[in-house]
Symmetry: D2
């Protein structure tokens, strides 16, 4: 079977990483086209890849008969139209989070895809492919520690991304924890509250960093999340789930343990999400490629989080942004479309 021809739209940090992974690590696929609003960036990524075109207009790539599938790593604002174009042309699409920037537009996409009768959209919540999260989910499913009652989540970055606003902590970081909560607890988040402690002296003026988010689920479970994007230390993502008969924690970044400085022992932390979740990114891509190649027989061109998952996370983030302004708990309007449940 010939390799799947993938268009990668948007080749910033994340998109360039996808291109590299497909080219050098993934079986059964190649990058056939890239597009970026910066022609230089597109060229830099594409020029070494045999048979990879640079396309000015991302919609041309989506429509092209020489493209089998699409990865959207464009800015979130561009996703809505691009995903709809993928649906127009029946192209499988791996859309980086967020699916769209607002819950309503995300819901529109969910409903449209449901009407097509085939599943084309996968959302890039890569943690569902991380070995540690998979182990944790399996443990919960096994019933060994009973029903999950609580979760404590930590999400820390060394430095905030460029142009990070207080809302970015929600749309870039908290969004993952919203999806992880749904993945682990198997139910919807119904209320979210953002608590704003005194900001770190190291935070840029006006940036509310850290933030604490509180989730409550349908059946009354409690999840708290620390988001702190400017610790100066490293990338730390940890989750502890507390069940009726025990608890479990993932994310202790242990590899090399050394002593050396007088009186101390320790090790290194992963600097960014790319090192921490490298295994997850690779597995996400490989399984997506494999699913697409089987898609014509299964009617499902995805193997991972769906558009409905993308919508649910977007709905949590919309409510969280409202709570960021008011400081009050905000209820999340339950999805009206049955495909979301």
């Amino acid at each position: 079977m010939t390799d799947l021809r993938i268009a990668v739209l948007g080749v910033g940090l994340m998109g360039a990483d996808h291109v590299d992974r497909i080219t050098n690590k993934i079986s059964g696929a190649r990058v056939a086209a890239v597009s970026d609003r910066s022609p230089q960036r597109a060229h830099a990524v594409a020029h070494n890849i045999e048979g990879c075109q640079i396309v000015d207009d991302p919609f041309d790539a989506i429509a092209s008969t020489e493209i089998d599938a699409v990865i959207l790593s464009t800015p979130g604002e561009a996703h809505e139209k691009q995903v709809h174009a993928c649906l127009d042309h029946r192209k499988p699409v791996l859309c980086e989070k967020p699916l769209t920037t607002e819950a309503s537009s995300a819901l529109g996409i969910v409903e449209r895809e449901a009407g097509l009768g085939i599943r084309l959209i996968q959302v890039g919540f890569m943690r569902r492919f991380d070995h540690e999260y998979i182990q944790l989910e399996s443990l919960l499913t096994s019933g060994q520690i009973g029903q999950p009652l609580l979760a404590h989540c930590i999400h820390r970055n060394r430095v905030p991304g460029p142009n990070f606003t207080s809302e970015s902590l929600i749309t870039d970081s908290l969004v993952h924890e919203a999806d992880v909560t749904r993945f682990l607890f198997k139910e919807e988040i119904t209320t979210v509250q953002i608590i704003k402690p005194t900001a770190s002296a190291g935070a840029p003026p006006g940036l509310q960093d850290p933030q604490i988010a509180l989730f409550r689920t349908e059946s009354g479970r409690h999840i708290d999340v620390e988001v702190f994007v400017g610790t100066g230390v490293g990338y730390e993502v940890r989750t502890e789930v507390v069940g009726e008969f025990g608890s479990a924690t993932i994310g202790h970044d242990v590899g090399l343990i050394k002593t050396g400085a007088p009186g101390t022992w320790g090790g290194n932390l992963t600097p960014t999400f790319l090192e921490r979740f490298s295994q997850a990114y690779t597995d996400q891509l490989q399984r997506w490629v494999n699913a697409i190649r089987k898609g014509p027989t299964t009617g499902d061109f995805t193997d991972g989080p769906t558009a409905a998952d993308g919508y649910a996370a977007a709905a949590v983030c919309s409510a969280a942004k409202q709570s960021l302004r008011t400081g009050q708990p905000v209820e999340i309007v339950p999805p009206t479309h049955e495909t979301c449940r």
Copy 2:
């Protein structure tokens, strides 16, 4: 110098442990009297100790010229009168938490002691003597990780105590975290909120277990506390403090690490607070005994948390009990007496 003669009032689990420690592990002191509402219990504890009397009325022991200092491990409701009696007779007293059951009566004690011009009251917040908490406080004081911004606290017991109510999680467990917060952050807690997630299926009917407490301090720092007294697993107390330039965690109960069951590794947890905080209990007692022996020259018969600390923790607990009923954040009325600051 002859041994300090101590009366231990109340010899349940905690009081009996104090008696044993003084008799078998502490230098410079002996148990000269015990009292308990159960004569059998008093007899069981006292009969093997040379020169130890059983006293029916605890106030007789407090008044006795043959008693140099008093330990109160009676029920919390009895503390107010007994502490006042100790002040009446100028007897140094180590009072188990809570100092009193309500903030107002605790404040009365603070003001009365302040009027005496000597310090006689120490409150049994033993965690301040635990090596790990001491290390954590030193780290914060050193400035290595900057100002503390957040803390995440875990307080788990294997099984709830007898007659535990939803309020007991606050007065028996959360009270320690209130004191630890003040010890580490060096400021007062100004708001507390109790969140009530779905109770564990293993909790007795009507017991709200687990509970989540949120503290906010004067300068806007955030502390969250999980209190879960019926995990079925063991005694787990952990604290992570997040500062501007780093974080630090204590309470990982590592000793023996073993593999054995196919495919697994692990270790043992301490079953109760007595094993976990044994070193702290011993140091608390020894330092208290040493301070009393020096007291006549220093005017300070304590080496540890003061009546003001006991009042502050009581004020947090009063507010937390109110929040347990309403679910809303409750402000803590600032202490009116200068001795509390």
Copy 3:
């Protein structure tokens, strides 16, 4: 560029894993032929792979113009002739350890390849691709902990392989530690001694399990290795290197940490080498494939341990087998051919 066509000779546990990895995880290569002394096993592995032939005689596959590169996962006794055949036909070959079963035949291969003026042979010491070993090697190279003085290695399996003999502990397990020692210390092992403690009651009759191996290097460094293949527990591989100014350890298998059984905490161990070194196996294959595709321009069809590395490890194992019989330290004859240094 079309995919590299690989013949996998020998499709037992290891060979079948290579086939699966190439087919489902590796970019730029496909399995074009398999061969096995068991036709059923060859069929089971090959029948689902598009364009994969079953070849009766492995030498036909090596000679075929439709094969670009060869993986040898045949029994060690078969390697010598098969590697020579690969050299005859100038086929890049990834040879599972051991390169050959005796040092002398391994040296013959090294000399022959050296004479060809191109590098065609890579030996499957996959640990050199493991992230933890790479971190450890980097730390040593950085000089942060000074010159390495000692290493303590642990190599444990849950159960011995089928037909395992006392020599198998050397040729299957210790061989990896010999290579790791050379990789980390950057010098040759000059003496080896096998110590035979009382065998485990769980070992099959006649199997010397565990064994302790002692290595001494050219400059007098000391390495000790525990090999214990029947622990009943899991796959545990750990290495601690002690340098002049500090030490470093890898192999603490931490992922999910849970509490659950009353009084205990712990986690899971990887059951076998396939789970523990999955990332290393994938990277080994992908980098080998990439190197072969660039080989015509570089003259080097390998990216990893060479035939000389295979010879050096074989020399250590030959001496270790002699020590297993005598109990005495055995010197390792230094390689006569300059290509080995």
Copy 4:
């Protein structure tokens, strides 16, 4: 009951620590006399302690009717005569290791004490009182991991003591591992070998540091020990025991875990044995004091390692010193006196 009157002979680092512990932490005992070859040192230790005499001649203190028990923290060369004097006067004695400097003189003491029909001598192998070693011994006794087959021991100091020779690594450090081996394996060490790797560049000229010791026990178990006294890092003592059905490790020095420096996590090591084994030293003393007070009824004035344990460790050290010279394994002559078994 009045306090036990103890003479502490030799008040260097270890002796001064015993004095402080008895005075400030131990119930039922006081320091009634100290002696040291340095009068200044004796004065510095004694002058603050009520009722503590300074004695010029240690034998006077041993003979005094105002002394109930003796602690020997004098240099090892002085122990033989002083222990005999304690036996002469029927004084319970806690003798720091080594019991004597040679196996033969230690055996003489064992035989003499056996002839008295009461047990007066305890040897200061404090690790037997350390909570972690106790847990490890309990695990082995429980049979959970089967018979112990192997042990790997690490003994590291930050800097060598003053006047440390290559033999000091054996008599000061390895001696503890010899006793620990006997404590855990419940059998005698029959062969010892010292391996001399290249010395650390940081070692003083002529000091063989590190050293590797290999023990073999009566039934053929294997123990290896790394002794490295100049790591520059901290005090690290770890033991892993490998049993037939599992393994167990102690000595992972975990307390405060922090992140802070960019990209790293870690914690502090204990700097010296006094911090690492503080709990063990206190328990050793308290239990010894308690045993002496009960001695007249039990005939046993000890609660811990006996003279026979001291002899056995001395025999291992004598053999180890011989092996240090020859590099060959040395057999340990089995004790001739039945009291040693």
